[in-house]
Symmetry: none
Subunit: 84 residues, 2 copies
DNA sequence: CCCGATTTGTGCGTATGTATC
DNA sequence: AGATACATACGCACAAATCGG
């Protein structure tokens, strides 16, 4: 899949936190099949740029996805869609 | 060109970010001709030592230079002055 | 062909300061 | 007061590409 700017998907004024919106956004792409199992996500820095948010916020979102079992993180390699 | 200690060129307390100062400093050397096209910059680790900053900050500065088209980075080889 | 050194790529964890809600 | 979020910056570890012996 092609990763373009996603800053327009984030509502900074609504009731939902930014990191939840990012987690939901990525989860949606995984469940729709656009992000197939074992495919790699952009790096934390790249995701921060794509969503125009801070890296710390990206990490919070990824933490939620890891807890949910939807992605797995490999030190030094990247973040991958879990095969389930 | 000779690469000596450059830690005195960085102001950690001013309004300009460290990575911006590094990017500007290297850009000046390129535009002055001291760093000719295709010449290789010190490694990220060496630059971090020369400026007495973190490698991550060096990478942030190099990212700006890449975006500006002044340098090109090659995985496993190094960072080179763009030929322009 | 393999091994080691070098270099960039990525992630982990943390800290500080600012601003907003 | 507290939580959220941004931006910056630090140090470290592991992975992958490249090149030389």
């Amino acid at each position: 899949m092609t990763w373009q700017d996603r800053s327009d998907r984030i509502d900074h004024d609504g009731p939902v936190t930014v990191w939840q919106q990012v987690a939901d956004d990525i989860t949606a792409d995984i469940e729709s099949g656009e992000l197939p199992p074992n495919s790699r996500l952009p790096s934390e820095v790249e995701l921060a740029e794509l969503y125009s948010i801070a890296r710390g916020t990206v990490r919070r979102a990824l933490l939620a996805l890891v807890d949910a079992g939807t992605v797995t993180v490999v030190h030094g390699r990247g973040t991958f869609v879990a095969k389930r």
